[in-house]
Symmetry: C2
Subunit: 202 residues, 2 copies
């Protein structure tokens, strides 16, 4: 059993490396050579362990989504309010662009943009991944309604769709090179629809 | 002079065909063969008239942006209110996905997603094109403030950034295969922030 451990560790590391590669430059622009180099694998181990490029890409999407859902769920549990949780998430979407050298955006959003029109299998994987992320925001908004931060007047589903739309929009603006300070000023406008008493706006 | 006419007509037609091609599948996935076929040009005329693929792509971005700005400016002049103009624009972003066989999205947003990280010249062209579109929405919102549809409390610039973010978000959701009916229910939530008296929401 112990002999399997290093291999499992290598699989996780290789998967993470491949995810970063696809996430940074996209599916089409990633060559087999890029993958072999970043994953530090031989061609035969790559095919043996992960299958072809398409299969590896699906594994990477899954890896990304599971990591995101687990990090966000923890942040929600630790957060003092729904307002704080959602605000910090939007702020993070914008701020990560400032800290990183590249504006990578969200791997799921990038993939939707690059491939969903042309590849039904990948489109379904993106849709399922986005659905799992939306579930975290659904829990957050339900919690906000219970705490009377958010009006119960509007269906949670609609508010989640609105929030996901706003997140996708911010990510696209960040990737398009929009001014970070200007985008920060968009956050309270997005929040205004969700939180009836958002300070500063009537 | 008259002998120049057919050539000019051909340039417009060829440019429109190339724009549709790049817009539908993106820059990377468009081959020289695709361009020659759709533009109905020989390789030498293509290079002679439009330069290389990169130069042609920039011409196409410019062609797309000018068309969009001129169509939108006309719609704004004809519209009975800012609320109607902005609502119809958002509705159009969603509805065009239902009518077309593909969900092409916005050529500028697609290009930002595909190339802005890797190509500074194209990033600048996208940014300038987006800026010209934003100017139309700036005019619309200023007009809405004058007509007291929109509160004068918030700077127009922030409201334009918010609106552009919402549009980018809707386009990405549409491309990702989101349910059309659900997205339609997001429109009043987006509008709520802009229009203090948006009906149905307090």
């Amino acid at each position: 059993m112990t002999s399997g451990r290093p291999r499992e560790f290598d699989i996780d590391r290789a998967l993470e490396a491949a995810t970063q590669q696809f996430w940074t430059v996209g599916y089409e622009a990633t060559s087999l050579q890029d993958l072999l180099k970043t994953m530090r694998l031989s061609k035969s181990s790559l095919y043996q362990t992960f299958g072809n490029k398409h299969e590896l890409f699906l594994r990477c999407l899954d890896h990304y989504e599971q990591t995101m859902v687990s990090v966000l769920s923890e942040q929600l549990v630790r957060s003092i309010s729904t307002e704080r949780f959602l605000h910090d998430f939007l702020d993070g979407v914008i701020s990560e662009a400032k800290s990183g050298r590249t504006r990578k955006g969200c791997f799921l959003v990038n993939t939707a943009n690059e491939l969903s029109q042309r590849d039904a299998v990948i489109a379904r994987a993106v849709s399922s991944g986005t659905g799992h992320l939306a579930e975290v925001f659904h829990r957050a908004i339900e919690q906000g309604k219970q705490q009377e931060e958010i009006s119960s007047f509007l269906p949670t589903k609609n508010l989640v769709d609105y929030f996901m739309t706003s997140v996708s929009g911010l990510r696209t603006m960040v990737k398009g090179g929009a001014d970070i300070a200007s985008l920060k000023r968009v956050i309270p406008l997005i929040m205004k629809t969700l939180f009836v008493n958002e300070p500063g706006y009537q």
